[in-house]
């Protein structure tokens, strides 16, 4: 009596388990059919426009949900290399060394443009100051120490600059903003290139560090005779005054959406096929020299066909309709030439 009873019990349990499992998997399939979740992580600078894009795209295509975590460019690069996210995002292009670590080739897709602007606080000076590349490099290297330095006076003949020490303010946290700023300094100053170099954090020769754009802006606002740099978006949204910078054509240009896009079209002619290009100190008389792309990092081989389609469709949409949303959030849009190149490059995602 005992043995058959045991068998019966075991059968009972087995069939119950089968039913449970199949129900669970059915449920899972049903969920998966409802929404496809694509995950991304990386740069903080474009986060406002990315979250708007992903939100709008979800409204248009309810079956696709793109989750993006703005954990910083470094984290974005790390996670896309490890394959823990479907795509990454970065403010500074990946280095050759990083690309070699990748199991599948990683492609860069520029999305929008940003810029850094010099902001300052000099009691008694209300005019917009002009900065030459030599002046900015000299100040951040600690060689130009006073506002009354001839290099600054020459560019601002009508401004009464005080004989006071310049207090330099830079970002203390690693950031794409810093990357763009020092990338520019390295291009215009050989000394900066050899002594300091380019990265998201550097060994600053002089200055105080503020955390985030708000930290730098706060220190500049509070410290008389200070000079710092913030993102254009941040300066515009907070109605901060900022200076003009002389570009490679010799014109002093104020950063705005048009002059930043102009820098990108100036660079479009020499755009490398992988889009990893620095557009600081770009050619063109209207170009603002401290501008940069920000990129999405997409693996060239995506095994899940549904995800591959979702990512490609999104990129296609971002290059077309998506671009019309960027200026409302103070980002500069991609120039037409770059959009055309990217549309071609989309074929590389397989």
């Amino acid at each position: 009596m005992n043995a058959p009873g045991g068998v019966w019990m075991r059968r009972m349990i087995a069939s119950l388990l089968v039913v449970l499992f199949s129900a669970a998997s059915l449920n899972f399939v049903a969920l998966a059919a409802d929404t496809l979740t694509v995950t991304g992580a990386g740069a903080t600078f474009p986060y406002p426009i990315y979250s708007k894009w992903f939100n709008e795209y979800h409204k248009l295509h309810p079956e696709i949900q793109i989750n993006y975590q703005s954990i910083g460019s470094g984290g974005g690069i790390r996670q896309v290399l490890e394959g823990t996210v479907d795509f990454g995002a970065t403010d500074g292009p990946m280095t050759d060394e990083q690309l070699q670590q990748a199991k599948t080739k990683i492609l860069h897709f520029p999305t929008v443009l940003g810029a850094d602007v010099p902001t300052y606080n000099i009691p008694g000076v209300t005019q917009e100051l002009n900065f030459t590349p030599e002046a900015l490099a000299g100040i951040f290297l600690g060689k130009i120490t006073k506002w009354s330095d001839p290099e600054l006076k020459k560019a601002n003949p009508n401004v009464n600059l005080p004989d006071k020490n310049i207090i330099v303010v830079h970002r203390s946290d690693g950031s794409g903003t810093t990357y763009v700023w020092v990338d520019y300094l390295a291009k215009v100053s050989p000394e900066w290139k050899t002594k300091v170099g380019v990265n998201t954090s550097v060994n600053w020769p002089v200055g105080l560090g503020g955390k985030g754009n708000e930290g730098v802006a706060g220190l500049v606002k509070q410290t008389p005779n200070s000079l710092g740099y913030v993102e254009l978006v941040y300066a515009v949204q907070n109605k901060m005054a900022y200076g003009r910078v002389r570009n490679s054509a010799g014109a002093f240009v104020k950063a705005d959406l048009a002059s930043v896009t102009a820098a990108a079209s100036g660079a479009a002619k020499q755009m490398p096929a992988d889009f990893r290009v620095s557009i600081t100190n770009a050619a063109g008389k209207d170009a603002y020299p401290i501008s940069s792309f920000t990129w999405l990092l997409v693996p060239s081989k995506i095994t899940d066909p549904a995800k591959k389609k979702a990512i490609k469709d999104f990129l296609q949409w971002m290059l077309a309709d998506g671009q019309n949303m960027v200026e409302a959030l103070s980002y500069a849009r991609l120039p037409k030439e770059v959009v055309a190149m990217e549309q071609k490059a989309l074929a590389q995602v397989q």
Partner: protein, 309 residues
């Protein structure tokens, strides 16, 4: 075995087991933490060795890393915080427990505990908007004109720097100092106080010569907790310390702390060596905490001769 069964029935053994697991989990967590920090920093430990502790270069571009300026900034700001905070905190606790009327004491104690719950970013903002201008316009120039012959109080007054970070840390550790010290002072037995008063002591003499020595161990405990908070505080410090990894004799000069640089640079750090250097900084901070605590405990042992009361 029977004994065990009986104890099990009474629930003793169960309680023993459960509480043992809770206590052991703390050791396990600490061990895991150290293990993670140790293995995560293998790259820099191999590459730089002890030079990591003695070098004062922090160059993420050239990948040359040294911890000394961060160690210096962390230790100096914490010492400043204790120098300012301990007399204030213990003094306030003595007033609240011994001299103030109970109703005022309870009311103030409640407010102080509220202060402990304020997020550190709020202290940081307060410091930026009120303390920093105050330091730059008044306190630093005053210190320079009166004590300027000492190198500690020389140099340009930016407003941000080690002194400002020390002051904001002192304010942040005050709630811990006051509320714990007050509790232990209140726990001093009534007989002790009555005996002192019966011998003709004034209330202050009773507080200072009887209550405070009796509560000494607990007061030291509050100082440890305060010190631990000061060493590890991140957000408020990074907002006012100036974030410049250089060693400077002047307290007015900007500096940097270990916790601040990890918070600032970790999210954007690329490259294994860079990340390893930041993790090793965490290991160094852990080491500092242990060393500082050990020194403090030795000091207590020396002053009390091993007695706890």
């Amino acid at each position: 075995m029977q004994k065990f069964a009986r104890r099990l029935k009474q629930g003793d053994e169960v309680a023993y087991l459960i509480t043992f697991i809770f206590a052991a989990s703390i050791i396990v967590i600490t061990a895991l933490l150290v293990y993670e920090l140790y293995t995560g920093s293998a790259l820099t430990r191999e590459r730089f060795g002890l030079r990591f502790l003695t070098s004062s270069t922090w160059d993420p571009v050239a990948l040359d890393f040294g911890a000394l300026p961060f160690v210096y900034g962390t230790v100096v700001t914490s010492i400043l915080a204790l120098l300012i905070g301990v007399p204030l905190g213990v003094g306030a606790a003595i007033f609240l427990s011994e001299l103030a009327p109970p109703r005022i004491s309870d009311g103030l104690a409640f407010l102080i505990e509220l202060l402990a719950a304020v997020p550190s970013v709020i202290y940081g903002l307060l410091a930026i908007f009120t303390l920093v201008p105050l330091m730059r316009e008044y306190i630093m120039p005053f210190l320079e004109s009166t004590l300027g012959f000492i190198p500690l109080f020389q140099g340009p007054a930016y407003g941000v720097g080690m002194l400002t970070a020390g002051v904001i840390l002192a304010i942040m550790i005050l709630p811990f100092l006051i509320s714990i010290s007050r509790e232990v002072l209140l726990a001093v037995p009534r007989e002790q106080r009555e005996a002192a008063l019966a011998l003709g002591a004034t209330r202050w003499e009773m507080a200072w010569h009887v209550a405070v020595p009796y509560a000494r161990a607990g007061i030291f405990g509050s100082i440890f907790l305060a010190l631990a908070r000061a060493l590890g505080e991140t957000m408020a410090v990074t907002m006012v310390i100036g974030n410049d990894p250089k060693i400077n004799a002047s307290l007015f000069a900007p500096s940097y702390s270990i916790a601040a640089v990890i918070a600032n640079e970790f999210s954007e750090a690329t490259g294994n060596l860079y990340i390893s250097a930041l993790i090793e900084l965490g290991l160094v901070l852990f080491g500092i905490t242990i060393i500082v605590n050990a020194i403090a405990r030795l000091l207590i042992l020396a002053t009390t001769g091993g007695r706890t009361h």
